[in-house]
Amino acid sequence: MSHSVDLIDVEMVFGTVHAVRKLSAHIEAGEFFSILGPSGCGKTTLLRLIAGFNEPTSGKVLIGGKDMAGIPADRRPTAMIFQSLALFPLMPVWENIAFGLEARGVPKAGRRKKAEELLDLIALPGYGNRMVHELSGGQRQRVAIARALAVEPQVLLLDEPLSALDLKLRQHMRAELRALQKRTGVTFVYITHDQSEALAMSDRVAVMEAGVLQQIATPQELYANPATPFVARFIGETNEIAGKVTGVENGLASIDTAQGSFTARAGAGVTAGAAATLFVRPETMSCSRIAMPNSLPAKAVSLEYEGALAMLRAETDQGQVLLATLPNRQLADAPQPGERIWLSFAADEALVMGAGDGHG
């Protein structure tokens, strides 16, 4: 079976760069766990700490409950798939796949057999004698996965493995990776800066920013209940209206803003009198021609059709641009540019969070 991974107060400092700050997380055995964050936030660094290429400046990495301090990469039960894949260009495909077995002293016949099995698994039978440069991007991708799986790792570490592929192939490979993870039961730790990738594939997602862990949650939870303003902004689109909390009651906060007063769910740590921001997803905004509770006046600016939906851009009297998505069936009655409208939302679909860092 596969192993769990625990990160306990892990810190990583390179000279003056604080790449990972006091990060703790528990990754379940057999879980598809993604780490999501913008470029340079410390994702690769974190993965390399798990793989054993670097030791944390402080804190602990446990794999299967066992402390990994002092155990180098070649003796950890992990295998890594690199951002660049790092296939060996001078070896044929089957030797690439069997390289880990070669290092373990498996005789040639056994290596060849295992390589053929894995080539079947990744749906590339008969490709063993090709060279790496004779493969397409997606095929290389799969060979990299097979090479990592050949050593039967307990934990597979994937560093943005799909980033080099085009959109179509990326979507195809997402499904394949997910299916492979289910089939093998190996714990996947998957790094990406693409939120749709993380949301589509993962059991749980950790969001990082500048070396700090923001939230660990299921994709649904992350979208519906972002723990910090950063997560709210990073996952999906959102409208933000700044204001001041006037009261908190039954989990609902009242907030006074330049656009009016609203009620919405109170995020953790929101208290009366504090500066805060109201977050409303475009798809929870509705558009009407009369005032409703929780609504604000605006002027329609433009309407962009996006197939199933249309994106309405509207400007408030204060000059702030807000977004609302309208389902197709409402399009017949959609506002014309320049028309005065009201945008409203349900109190339980919007969130008020502290204007500060939002932690707590």
Partner: protein, 295 residues
């Protein structure tokens, strides 16, 4: 194609002049002297009065002389073997250094090492070898140093094989270092990490990943070093002893002391052929082609 390009660029007049100059250069400076050497080497050594006379016949005697004279033959074989040894030692010293500079050291560390290695090469070869001459002298600093440490109790005569070897390894180290360092630098570091991650030992990483990637650089370095060592004159002359004579010294003697240019020319051509054979053998051995080496 290159010729057409040249004429298009400079016009037929200037382009033609350039072509003629290049042709003159090749004929006058490369082809003619070598053909003259060849001609010399195939003639017996005669008094000026005999030239053009009945004894002035083409012969292979100058070539066969090398193999029938046991002293010369021994020196020739020793030069081949010695150059191979210099190449092997230089490679053994340089490869770890090149790997360290390309993949382990910080940018700053690698640059400092490079500068430390290059600066002595601003001084010319003779003076650099003289420095070794002083260092290795019987009453020189190395012997004094080793004696004070108590490692040896009598001064050692370094001049001879040891001195020649040390001097040559040092003299040619950069010719080995640069091509190897360059080729290792182009290896993607993630490949080394990946191999390590898959459980490969350091030895296996080098054998399977680094060396195959760097083999053109290694072949280039070995070819350079071997040719420079085989054709070396300064190091054996200064750091050698009568027992460690180098083949170049024999050639020199035929030309300038023995007064037998014919024999000298034959020996020089044999050395040239040897070097070309080594280049071809090395390319075969490393399975690289000439175009890779020229890169």
């Amino acid at each position: 194609m290159a010729m057409a390009e040249l004429i298009r660029r400079f016009g037929p007049g200037l382009g033609g002049v350039i072509l003629i100059l290049v042709a003159l250069w090749i004929v006058g400076m490369v082809l003619a002297p070598n053909l003259m050497m060849l001609n010399f080497s195939l003639k017996p050594n005669l008094f000026p009065s005999e030239i053009g006379g009945p004894k002035d016949q083409y012969t292979l005697l100058n070539y066969t002389a090398l193999f029938s004279d046991p002293v010369h033959r021994a020196i020739f074989l020793k030069t081949v073997w010695g150059s191979a040894l210099v190449t092997a030692i230089t490679l053994a010293v340089t490869y770890p250094l090149a790997f360290w500079m390309a993949k382990v050291a910080s940018v700053r560390g690698a640059r400092a090492m490079l500068i430390a290695l290059i600066i002595p090469f601003w001084i010319n070869e003779v003076l650099r070898t003289l420095a070794w001459y002083i260092l290795l002298a019987f009453n020189g600093p190395l012997n004094i140093f080793l004696q004070t440490l108590g490692i040896i109790d009598q001064p050692v005569r370094w001049f001879g094989d040891t001195g020649v070897l040390a001097g040559m390894v040092y003299a040619y180290i950069l010719f080995m270092l640069f091509p190897i360092y360059n080729s290792i630098s182009t290896l993607e570091t993630a490949q080394i990490d990946a191999a390590r991650d898959l459980g490969a030992s350091t030895l296996r990483i080098h054998r399977r990943i680094v060396i195959p990637h760097a083999k053109a650089g290694i072949a280039t370095g070995c070819v350079f070093t071997f040719m420079l060592a085989a054709g070396s004159y300064v190091a054996p002359a200064l750091l050698g002893s009568p027992g460690s004579r180098w083949f170049t010294e024999i050639i020199y003697n035929w030309f300038f002391e023995g007064g037998n240019w014919n024999r000298g020319a034959a020996y020089a051509l044999i050395l040239l052929v040897l070097c070309m054979a080594v280049v071809l053998a090395a390319l075969r051995l490393f399975r690289v082609n000439l175009a890779d080496v020229a890169k």
